[in-house]
């Protein structure tokens, strides 16, 4: 379900040392903007942070799913980060977050994008997938776990 347009190995960070929620989102924004022709890490960061003001995008169980709509993207793109230590993310269950998937969808978003978001959330609902993601030691391995059915 997660195609190469959505997530690829360039936008996966493995075993990063991040100290705060802000740094985590900054890193994700950097990954999203990395090989994109129009995106700027700064604006992506602001958009993602703006969404956090409505309420934390922490899903619980140490996973966060920050997301936003942006007019500079034409198709949904994602980035993933696994951190060494959990960061405080104001998640509803109070758990520190060490797995985070950021999603950007185009401005003219529709139900399909909402469903993509729901699909991502359900992906991280699977306890064994979370364990494997935490045990993964390389970006390639993480990508495999993410895209596996």
């Amino acid at each position: 379900m997660l195609g190469p347009d959505l997530i690829n190995v360039v936008r996966v960070g493995c075993g990063l040392e991040l100290a705060s929620k802000k740094r985590l989102i900054e890193t994700l924004a950097g990954l999203l903007a990395r090989d994109h022709p129009r995106l700027q890490a700064e604006t992506v960061f602001e958009h993602l942070l703006e969404r956090e003001r409505l309420g934390s995008t922490g899903l619980g169980h140490g996973v966060a799913l920050p997301h936003s709509r942006m007019k500079d993207v034409t198709t949904a793109i994602g980035a993933f980060v696994q951190t060494v230590q959990g960061v405080d993310y104001d998640a509803s269950d109070g758990e520190a977050v060490d797995l985070a998937f950021a999603l950007l969808v185009p401005e003219e978003a529709n139900d399909e994008h909402l469903r993509l978001l729901a699909h991502l959330a359900s992906l991280f609902n699977d306890p064994s997938r979370r364990v494997r993601l935490r045990e993964a030691t390389s970006a390639d391995e993480i990508l495999q776990i993410l895209t596996a059915h």
Partner: protein, 577 residues
Amino acid sequence: MELTNHIILLGSSVVFVSVLASVITARVGAPLLLVFLVMGMLFGEDGPGGIVFDDTQLAHLLGNLALAVILFDGGLATCYKDFRVGLRPALGLATLGVLMTTAITGLFAVWWLELSWLEGLLLGAIVGSTDAAAVFSLLRSNGIELKQRVGATLEIESGSNDPMAIFLTVALIELLRTNPDHIGLMLLTEFIRQMGLGTLFGLGGGFGLVWLVNRLKMSAGLYPLAIMAGGMCLFGITATLNGSGFLAIYLAGIVIGNRPLEARLEIKRFHDGLARLAQIGMFLMLGLLVTPSALLPVADDALLFALVLILVARPLAVWLCLWPFRFPWREQVFIGWVGLRGAVPIILALFPLLAGLNQAPMIFNIVFFVVLVSLLIQGWTVIGLARKLELEVPPSTHLVQRVELDIPGQQELELVGYRLAANAPIIADAAALRTRLPPGARLVAVLRSGQWLDQCGPVQMRAEDHVYLLADPSELSELDRLFVAVPEAEAERLSEQAFFGEFVLQGSSRLADLCAFYGVKADPTDAALTLDALMRRALNTHPVVGDRLQLGALELVVRAVEDDRITQVGLKLPREM
């Protein structure tokens, strides 16, 4: 001497066998109280037990006593917080609702059973009160938590409608016996005196009792007794002065249960057990008292009467009484259906027997039959209905054992115990014990096949281990996440994410922002509203956890409420295709 021993043996074996039987029948979902009622009938004169018990006077005394104990415990267990959403609708149901059911069922009885006006209304009044204790013991034993608005309304209603039904019954019997000139005036003054005295002595006595008990130094075991005796005194004083003793003891219970109190744990546990005994004893006794063979001749009429009560009178009364409060229809349907009749009607049916009314035996048998039907039909369907109408909320805790610790001058602490299932999260993720244990919680002990594990080393937990922790009560839900394996089906149906949605939004967020991030369309005039304001406007009543609002493809679910403001809203995304 012989006789005394025989009575003790007989009484205790009846209770013992009934308790054993209830363990078995609980598996098929039969309402506990129905079981005791039927056991009583089996032990009685027409059953294999063959015990003849027809002392109406004794039954009346014990019944009233048991009822007072049960109402007292009901009051003690009622939380002030529930009043916010439940008090006004429940009071409407307890007064107007009882009047309406009385009138509708009464008129039907007058027409169909060809009773006189007053006798018909008397029959209606006797079956007027509901028994939520039966419903709640059923729900709790099945681990179901109802939405607060429904639960609170039913609970407060059932506590406060007994005094009303009792008042109507007593007043109607009085009218039948004396035939006074000014019926209306007499009813009104009687009502004011009963309820006025009941309220006065209940509230005043409750505060007084708390004040007194908190100033006495005695051994912990005596506090519950002091409270119980005090409550019973209030009942007695009020009733002697022709007030409503039942209202008084219920209100006193509420006051006592919600004030800071010495030895409150002992007191609550004691009354919980006492109320249980009272219920079991009362139903057994009432089962013994009735002559089942005498029920058959009235069965047709009684069944019809019960159906009118269940299908017409109660739903209509609920609908009219709840109309100003705009409960969602699902909740109205549920409250309308869960008008379970319990012991109170049977006890009230003893009143006309004692008063020596002509129709009293027939009234008693009809009422008994109605209660049986109600317990059978409504009692057996209530769980399925709660699920069908989606009135469940995810349970806040799955604790196996918990002991509140009364440490003087200390923060609240509880000793909690879990027995680990094979798929408990902590077994799959051993590191969680270090990283995810809430800050206020301490692992105290792990017990494996009867042996304490050495705790200094890292503990790898296994299935069947018993784990004990000290924890702050507010952290219990976090502990549950670590130590409790939720069954697959259950997890699918009521996991937090399935129920509240994927994300949590602040109640103070603006609708406009939500629309901007998710591309949903909303009325531009609403854009400046906060989610809190938007949902409260749509609900038009006090919000409770679990209330929902559809917004385009998104669904908003109330997740937390503080002082009538929605502080957290769950955001539920559309299901995948």
